[in-house]
């Protein structure tokens, strides 16, 4: 090669290196300028290389790949071949990590649609857990400031595990109680001071249940004492976290989840182990202040969206339930609030008349 040729190669190479350095210098300021307007980078700093690769390198093509994977997932689901679906859900969500709808859909699909296809309870429980893990361990990680992710995660606890719509809901409740008892002790009540002094236990708790003891303590102080073996307690926890990220405007679905779950916990929020591997859910009147706080928080934030009616219904139910349990003081307290806030002809004649009209008949 001639000397001229060598010289021009050196010039081109030097120019290339100089341009690369220049691009590197501008990279950080550009990224900084981009951050406020584009939330796409949120949560990617600690993401695994696969996610960074798919998000950055594939660019616009990742949508097409996600569509193709989604088509395959639908086809396999129709065919009753479920093995790949966790894998496909993982890839699809990783291709679009900041689209909450995708996380929500796949978690719901795994926990609701696929789980019920399994003939064995342990298989069903595994699929429900896959849905939980997808949202809790991944979805929240990539969308930490989207309250919807927290609300949907809470919904899995409130409805799928805590509700009774699934034929095997009792099995889920027992399995969940075991999981929590393994971490927090058999009564499902942590000693927060002891927990905070033990980083190994804190880490194990986070890995197994996704819980942060400091936040648990706050939730417990606000609404508790919560029995963490009961799924609705976790619904309250995640909905509370959703409200935290929602900011000052609040987020009605999360608030609604908190008061609904608290109302459910009031009726059946204390878990007791029965003979064998059975559980019984009992009412927990200690949660009454927490339920009222949840409703009143929601009332102070949102107007005209059914919170009032829900609160009134709760107070009616609580008045009658507490009376039936012989707790006249709390029962009367509930009635006073009911009549004070939502007076009706039914409450106009006072507590005794209300109980006589709607309470249990003598000898019934």
């Amino acid at each position: 090669m001639s000397r001229d040729g060598n010289r021009s190669e050196v010039v081109i190479l030097s120019a290339g290196v100089a341009l690369l350095v220049l691009a590197g210098v501008f990279h950080k300021p550009l990224l900084k300028a981009r951050m406020p307007s584009v939330s796409d980078q949120e949560g990617l700093s600690g993401a695994p290389p696969v996610v960074v690769f798919t998000t950055v390198v594939l660019g616009g093509f990742r949508g097409i790949i996600a569509d193709a994977l989604w088509l395959r997932a639908s086809y396999l689901q129709d065919e009753g071949r479920f093995l790949e679906l966790v894998q496909l859900a993982d890839w699809i969500t990783k291709l679009e990590p900041h689209t909450s709808d995708i996380w929500v859909f796949h978690a719901w699909n795994l926990a609701y649609n696929i789980s019920v296809m399994m003939p064995l309870p342990e298989d069903r429980w595994r699929w429900v857990q896959q849905g939980l893990h997808l949202l809790r361990d991944e979805g929240v990680r990539y969308n930490p400031s989207d309250p919807r992710i927290y609300q949907e995660l809470g919904w899995l606890f409130q409805h799928k595990l805590g509700g009774e719509s699934d034929r095997l809901h009792a099995y889920y409740k027992i399995q969940w109680a075991h999981l929590v008892a393994d971490q927090l002790g058999r009564n499902g009540r942590p000693d927060y001071d002891e927990l905070s002094r033990d980083p190994a236990r804190t880490l194990a708790l986070h890995q197994a249940l996704g819980l942060d003891p400091a936040r648990m303590q706050v939730v417990d102080a606000l609404y508790g004492p919560l029995d963490w073996r009961v799924p609705q307690s976790h619904a309250v926890y995640w909905a509370y976290r959703g409200l935290q990220v929602a900011g000052s405007d609040g987020y009605l679905p999360c608030s609604r989840m908190i008061y609904q779950s608290m109302a459910e916990l009031f009726v059946k929020g204390r878990l007791t182990w029965g003979p064998g591997d059975t559980i019984t859910m009992l009412a927990d009147a200690r949660l009454l202040p927490g339920v009222m706080r949840a409703y009143e928080d929601a009332l102070s934030r949102y107007e005209g969206v059914g919170v009032r009616e829900s609160y009134a219904n709760f107070l009616v139910g609580a008045t009658l339930m507490l009376h039936a349990r012989g707790d006249s003081r709390r029962s009367r307290n509930c009635f006073d609030r009911l009549h004070g806030a939502y007076p009706t002809p039914q409450t106009a004649d006072g507590y005794e008349a209300f109980i006589a009209a709607y309470g249990p008949r003598p000898g019934a």
Binding site: G80, F82, L83, E84, Q87, V116, P119, R126, Q130, R167
Partner: protein, 421 residues
């Protein structure tokens, strides 16, 4: 003649090695396979993970090897013609068919080498997966009896009129080795319009031709998804027809669900008749037949076109073949939602008619090439029969490959080598 073919094949192989194609392809395959092994999670069970790994590994090997082979094959003759290195060969007493076959066989040697490496990797991954589970545990049993096995499957043929109770099917049990132990699996599905309905309580029976009951078992089955019932092989008679009966029983509340069986796959009996190693080999041989066809397509395209055009044309044909299946499937009358207009109904436009006709023609012409696919069979522990491998070799290599070989030879024979490209 054979010496000349093998001579050209050897040269082709050496050229592929020298151009680092073999090493690059090996590295690519290894990266893909190791990547899958490290990242795949399955459904949370060891058997599920292994099934997904085998299925993806097989698909990835097929895709990577297929594309790379097509690329290599397109360049094998096209680049030699363009660079005029072909003159060194054609001036010798070599017939065009020997040239074509030599190139093709050289490429197949490369493919075979890669397939053996990929096969060894998959076999090792499967065995590691097996050793990581404990025999006797549910997961260990699933890995050994449902994944790392070759099971023949027999679909039941419904007997009697619809609504007949008990429901009856006829099954032909495959031949079993003497003293076979282990479990066969009866897989069955119900048709359910609603999710999470109460389970079906029922009773299964296997009855021989002489009316003797071979096997019977009560079951509690899900109305959704696929149910499985294990049947000891000792209670089956290989090679004999058998009658399968199901009768629903009332549940604890005295109710009967009246569940009906899924119309497409009512019942299916899976009987283990072989091991994973041999099944993997047959799956790889099926793959080899497909890749051999792609190699033939590439070599012939290379005789017709320059290298980039040959790659484009071959890829276009492959894509058209795959898409034609999809178009024909999705435009089938039963899948098209018909809109009812008031007034005159508009038929399909001429473009749609021509497109549909072209798709149907391509599909008809190429359908046999897509018939012999491994699919999920290896991962689901379903046996790939030898006769299918033989049929694939006959159709894909001798049939389609032969036609492509003839076409390539015709082009080569008429080609003016000295003309500018």
């Amino acid at each position: 003649m054979y010496n000349r073919i093998f001579g050209i094949a050897g040269l082709m192989f050496r050229q592929a090695v020298r151009s680092r194609f073999v090493v690059s392809l090996f590295c690519l395959l290894l990266t893909v396979l190791v990547g899958f092994t490290l990242t795949i999670q399955g459904d949370g069970t060891a058997s599920g993970r292994l099934q997904v790994l085998l299925s993806y590994a097989m698909g990835a090997v097929g895709s990577v090897l297929g594309m790379a082979t097509l690329w290599l094959a397109c360049g094998s003759l096209a680049t030699e013609i363009e660079s005029r290195r072909i003159h060194l060969v054609v001036v010798k007493p070599v017939r065009v068919i020997e040239l074509w076959l030599g190139k093709w066989m050289g490429i197949l040697a490369v493919v075979l080498l890669q397939l053996v490496a990929a096969g060894l990797f998959m076999w090792a991954a499967a065995r590691i997966g097996e050793h990581r589970t404990v025999a006797g545990t549910p997961d260990g049993i699933a890995v050994r009896e449902e994944v790392l096995v070759a099971r023949e499957w027999v679909e039941g043929r419904r007997l009697g009129p619809p609504g007949d109770r008990p429901v009856r099917w006829s099954l032909s049990c495959p031949e079993l080795p003497e003293g076979a132990t282990g479990m066969a699996t009866l897989s069955y599905r119900f048709l359910s319009a609603w999710r999470d309905q109460p389970p079906v309580i029922g009773h299964w029976m296997l009855r021989g031709e002489d009316g003797r009951i071979w096997f019977e078992s009560d079951c509690t089955a899900n109305q959704d998804g696929v149910n499985r019932l294990k049947i000891p092989l000792a209670q089956l008679r290989g090679g004999e027809p058998v009658e399968l009966l199901f009768e629903e029983r009332p549940n604890a509340a005295g109710q009967v669900t009246g569940a009906t069986f899924h119309p497409e796959r009512e019942v299916e009996l899976l009987v283990p008749t072989g091991g994973f190693g041999a099944n993997l080999m047959r799956a790889l041989l099926l793959l080899f037949c497909h890749v051999a066809l792609l190699a033939a397509l590439g070599v012939t395209a290379g005789t017709l076109f320059t290298f980039p055009v040959a790659v484009f044309a071959s890829l276009a044909l492959v894509v058209a073949t795959l898409l034609a299946q999809f178009f024909v499937f999705s435009t089938a009358p039963e899948r098209v939602a018909h809109e009812h207009h008031h007034g005159g109904e508009e038929g399909p436009s001429w473009i749609e008619r021509v497109g549909a006709h072209a798709s149907e023609t391509v599909r008809m012409a190429m359908a046999p090439t897509l018939r012999y696919r491994v699919g999920l069979r290896l991962a689901e522990g379903r046996r790939i029969p030898w006769r299918e491998v033989q049929a694939a070799a006959a159709v894909l290599i001798l049939g389609y490959g032969g036609v492509l070989c003839l076409a390539g030879c015709l082009v080569l024979r008429r080609r003016e080598w000295a003309l500018p490209v």
